[in-house]
Structure formats: C-alpha cells, structure tokens
C-alpha cells in the first residue's frame, strides 16, 4: 500500500520539476556494480537468518495478542476505556504492520511455520490478504513509482505527482487525502477494484465481481467481530465497546496512512516512466527502489510500531528479508549510496509529514509550466515541490 514516483533524466530536462531529486547518471557498468553490491548484501543477511529472527517474530505475535486480549477485556471496566482503546490500537497496529505486512511479504516463509506463511496469513483488516498481496507485492513492489503502472501513486484518488495531469477534481486533493487517512483500511480494500478505471471506462464492472465478493466476505467477518460480537459480549456496555473498537480501527488507519505516505511521498522521492524501466537491469531496479522511497528516523519502539516501514528504502530493496534486519542493513546501504553519489532520503517524521502535506496541497492546483532556462534545484534541499 505504498506508492512511488520516479522521473527519467529525459523527462526531468524537459519539465525541470523543482521537486525532482538529483538523479545521478550512473553508467551501465556502475549500475551493475551497484546491483552486485546489493545482491552481496542481501546474500549475507539471508545466510544469517535463524533462531533470533524466529524468536523475534514469535515474540511480537505474543505481545500483540497480549495487547489484544488486554484491550478486549478492559472494555468490561468503563473507567479503563481509554486504556482499552490504546491497547487495542497498539494490537491492531502491530498486527497489520510488523506482523501482517511483513509476513504477507514472505519474510518469514523460510520458517516453515504455517501461521507465519505468506500464502496462508490473512491480516486483521478489511482488505483480503490475497488481493493485497497481488496489488502490493507484485504491482507496487515490482513497478515501484513507475507512472501508469504503480497504482499506489495516489491510489487512483489523489494527485501525488506533477506528471499526473491536473483536473478540477484534484482541487479536493487535501480533502481526499484526509478521508483516505480516516478510512485507510477501506481505501486499501477498495484499491483493487480500480474504481477510477471503471469511471474512465477502462475496466468493466463485471471484472470486479469476484474481487467484490471476497472483499464483502472479509468485511462481514471484520464487522461482525468488532461491531457486533465483542460489543454484545460486554452487554450493557455495547455502545462503549462499539465506539472503542471503531476508535482503535481509526487510530490504526491514521498511523498506517502516515507511515506509508512518509515512505513514498516526501520531497525528494522520484517517479519514473515506463520507457525508463523497459528491459531494466537488476542494478537499475535496485537504483529505482532507492530513489522511490524515503526513510523516517526514530527510536527502536517507533521502528517496531511502524513495522520497520520507517526503513522504506531497505524494505523496497529487500522486500522479502525480515524487517527487523532493516536497521542493520540501512547502515551498509547508506555507505554504498554515498560511494555512488545517490541521495539517501531520510528525515524526522515531522519533516517527512510536512513535505507530504505540502505536496498534497500544492498538487491540488495546476502545476505551473517552468520558465525556459530555469535551473533545477538539487534534491538535498527540503524543497517544496514533491516528486
């Protein structure tokens, strides 16, 4: 559920977008060497996977379940309502991000544990895991930030890149972004229906029948649990429990939305064209992943609560390596980037959020045509225009 923009050198020279990162023009040989270094890093980590990673993810599952049970139980004590909501929110965030997202990426398939296997796992979210794995693991992670291919760029709702043609509809960009944040899990579930393509007549409604049925099945189960059975089990406290569950889902939505948008839309993130990515080498693929993602700095707890998607760059380079390894990988990736002169986009949550928000607002209005001869600012600056 992430998106990324990326820009070809050709395109840049013609449009001169203020937000474009400084994309170094690596030679094919440099790209290959860069790809080899990434492959070597990957192999070293994969060879080292073992008991500690197994213990870590099982420990997180245990902790998540403790929060979940504690949250559900505390709804029986009305004064503890805020605590119950907090515990349930933490549980849902952990389950969706550090567990669900990462397990469904196949990060723990090597464990051979059916409960942590990407083909079997489904998360506590109205989007059926099966559909998410297609749109996310395949479409988004393969075509990261390729305009017209990666449907995570704006999710078909928002204008998140200058190269998306402006339309008066986009005047509502900030409003749509706010609504997507509040109803994020629903947005993710609807994502695969490609409603925008149906509106444009590019997709037939009939193509959605099966997807729609699967979503409705999942929605019913999720709603039954959070909005009927658990509230009913608390008897007269039904309304309080109902509200508490709704708030916990909302908290998870807001948190997940912010982490994901900060991983893909801050200033300095690049988008690419389909032509640039034709017959791309493995080195170029890595390079595109790097330029199409951004990290958020923070403490250990922050990283766990973000499912380590605060290391979006490392996640995009190695989506199937257990996320707990991203911090140690990041040290090496940064060093490699420095040597190749590739900008490594990272910043505090507040800084990344600010540039994302600014981009959402700025792109709600038409992008002014650049004046001929205007210099393109570098990526290092915290530039207003987003990629």
């Amino acid at each position: 559920m992430t998106t990324i923009p990326f820009v070809s050198p050709k395109k840049r020279s013609s449009t001169s977008r203020a937000s474009d990162p400084k994309i170094p023009n690596l030679t094919p040989e440099q790209l290959e060497a860069f790809g080899d270094e990434m492959d070597a890093l990957r192999q070293r980590i994969v060879a080292d996977l073992g008991e500690e990673d197994a213990a870590y993810i099982r420990g997180i599952v245990k902790r998540q379940q403790q929060f979940e049970v504690a949250g559900r139980v505390m709804f029986y004590l009305p004064p503890a309502w805020p605590l119950a909501v907090a515990a349930l929110s933490v549980s849902k965030i952990l389950e969706n991000m550090e567990i669900g997202h990462n397990v469904m990426h196949g990060q723990y398939d090597w464990l051979g544990d059916p409960k942590l296997n990407s083909r079997i796992y489904d998360w506590d979210n109205v989007c059926p895991g099966e559909q998410w794995k297609y749109s996310h693991n395949y479409i988004h992670h393969t075509f990261t930030n390729v305009l017209g291919k990666d449907r995570d760029i704006g999710y078909g709702i928002l204008r998140m890149d200058e190269d998306q043609k402006w339309h008066p509809y986009y005047l509502g960009n900030p409003l749509y972004a706010f609504l997507l944040m509040a109803f994020f899990e629903w947005g993710v579930a609807m994502h695969d229906l490609e409603v925008e393509n149906i509106v444009k007549g590019r997709r037939k409604l009939g193509e959605n029948a099966q997807l729609h049925a699967a979503i409705m099945k999942k929605v019913k189960r999720q709603a039954l649990k959070d909005y009927l059975i658990f509230p009913a089990l608390t008897g007269p406290l039904f309304p309080l429990t109902f509200a508490g569950n709704a708030v916990a889902n909302l908290v998870r939505n807001v948190w997940a939305f912010n982490i994901i948008f900060c991983g893909h839309f801050p200033a300095g993130v690049a988008t690419f064209t389909e032509e640039e990515c034709e017959d791309e080498s493995r080195g170029h693929w890595y390079y595109r992943q790097l330029l199409g993602s951004a990290n958020i700095t923070g403490g250990k707890l922050f990283h766990i609560m973000s499912g380590n998607l605060s290391h979006q760059i490392e996640h995009h380079l190695f989506p199937d390596i257990p996320a707990r390894r991203y911090p140690e990988i990041a040290v090496e990736v940064r060093e490699i980037c420095e040597r190749y002169g590739i900008t490594y986009n990272t910043g505090r949550l507040s800084r990344q959020l600010y540039t994302v928000a600014r981009k959402i607002v700025r792109l709600s209005v038409p992008t002014p045509k650049p004046k001929p001869g205007q210099e393109e600012p570098g990526a290092g600056q915290a530039v207003p225009e987003a990629a």
Binding site: L49, G106, G112, W123, Y134, Y138, T142, L224, K225
Partner: protein, 362 residues
Amino acid sequence: MTITQRVLSSRLVAALASPHSVDRYLEQINPMWAATEVRARVVDIVRETTGEHPVATLTLQPTGTWRGHRSGQFVQVGVDLEDGRRTTRCFSISSAASLPGERFTLTIRSHAEGVVSRYLVNEAEPGLILHLSQAEGDFTVHESAATPTNNHLLMISGGSGITPVMSHIRTLLRDGYDGHANRKVTFLHYARSPEDQIFADELAEIATADNGVTVQLRYGTHRFDPDELRRLVGDFRDIDTWACGPAGLIELIQDAYAGSPRLRVEFFKPPAFATDDDAEGTVLFARSGKTATNSGTNLLEQAEATGLTPEFGCRMGICFSCTSRKTEGTVRNVLTGETSSLPDEDIRICVSAPVGSCSIDL
C-alpha cells in the same frame, strides 16, 4: 469431543479470533491446547538399536484434536529445528490403531542426511512439542477379528519399513486375531543385521506365541526371492500383501507380483541429488502429467514452454505469487546460487532452476 473442545471449535469463538485461527491464541497459553490443529508432546523415548543408523521409538501424547489412526497410516511431523526453521517429514506410526486423543508411537531410524530423523532420534527429549497432521495414507488393513473372513495376510518389509507393518500386526493381535480360526498371517522382514533389527524381542515373542503369525527374518545380503516366497506361502499373487521398504526391495516385489491387485506398497522417498551438469534430466509437472527435458532455465519458463500457465507475478523472486511445491529433485536458486534437495519443499519457480531431474506439483 469434550465440551471445551466443542466450545473452542465453535463458530462463535472462530468469529472472535477471525481472521486468525483460535489455535494461534491457544498455543500461546499452552501448546497442548488446540481447537483444530494437531500437536503432540513427546512423553517417552526408547532407543531400539544403536550403531551407525540408530533407531528410537517416540511415544507421543497428541492434543485432543487427534482423530486417531488406522494401522499402516503415517503422520506429518513438523519440528522446530535449532536454526528456527520448522521442517516437516512423514513418519509411519508403529503402534496399534489409536482412538481420538490416544497416545501412539513413531519408530524412526536416523539417516545421515535426514535432519528431522537425526534430530528426533539423537536429540529429542521428553517434553518436546511436535506439529502434526492428522493420520493419512491408505496402506491399511480392513481385516480384523470381527470380520468373518479367514484370508491369509502377508506382510513384507525391509529396514525401517517395518513400522507400518508392525502397526498392522500389533493391531490384529491386540484386537483378538489368533490362529484358532485358521486365520494366518505371514511376516517376512529384511534387515541389515540382527543388531539392526528393530523390535527384535517383540518379534521373537510373537513368533513363539500361539497366534497364527509366522515371522520370517532375513539378514545381510539375503535378497527378496519370489521362489522363496512361493515356498513360504504358496501362490503369493492371490494373497493380500502389504509391502513397505526401500525402493530397491519394493521394485523386486512389484516385479514378482506382476500387477496383482492384491499387492499394496508404501515407499520411502530418498532425496534425489544433483548431477554435475544442471541442464540434464527431465522435469515432471506432476499435476498436469507433463514432462519436459530440463533446459536449465528457471522452472516457470520451463512450465510455460510446455504450455502450462502457472500463477506468477514479478518473475524476479520478490512477490511469491509463483510459489509451488517441489516434490523431488534438486533446484538452484538463480539469485543466490544455493541448491536445495529437500523433498516436498515450497519454491519460487521464477528463480529456481532444476539441477538434473525434478518433479513439481503443477
């Protein structure tokens, strides 16, 4: 089914745990609590033989979800090995038929290349939790003391192939099978040496008791011989026969029975190892029955070349859409160069190239 079991496997409890299984929560409290999954605790380990390939019998206390087994069936056993990987192998059950929730035994020979058998025989301690399937397989006997027939039953086994056959014999004897109704059982077993003989004492007891069971043990280089079998039991092709053992023995037996429907066989599956040149041998796509000469490229492309349309996504090992089960053979991960020869392994076919012959469930 106890009341607790009934509640735990109810739809209401399932709805509360959705989209996860109830077992995901129960397991955290006590590994022996389960709603649908089957797990077992190892309660006893007895060394049967020592030497190069030692054998041990493990007594398992399954969770209440165990539905019991018929003699001759096997169970998938998943073990969390020390590197954190759960590895699953099939083992025949050696004890007499069990009822739901009842204890049963596995008798396992440790093989040098068998990580699970080696671990269970040499390192397992009572208290170890195993992840099981329900009992599977149709290498079963329908005769019992209660059936009004007097069929002669013939059991042939080699090495650790004795385990399902032993389960048959134990079940028949426990349930009242004896020689007095003129019901004969002949048990012919091939072992490497008397020292390697599993269940030696029990077999000696069975042989001397008045029960209608004839025990014939053969050691060392003594090979299966159809004429010898004919001298023992007459025209064996008309006798209901259960045979379990290494592939070599089973092939000899199958040749001797010439397609007789009276013969039931059970194999072990040794991993096929890589040949020197990767692009050799044939690739079998087991589900569709198609075969192809191994071209050396990744399995996804080879499958597509035969006209199959397996599910795929990124075609570069990221998305796991193409994950398929390799039942036999060796594959090389084209990204890492790593090879793997494990049977029944899930692989990403877009980044796996066969090394020699292999079989894929596609």
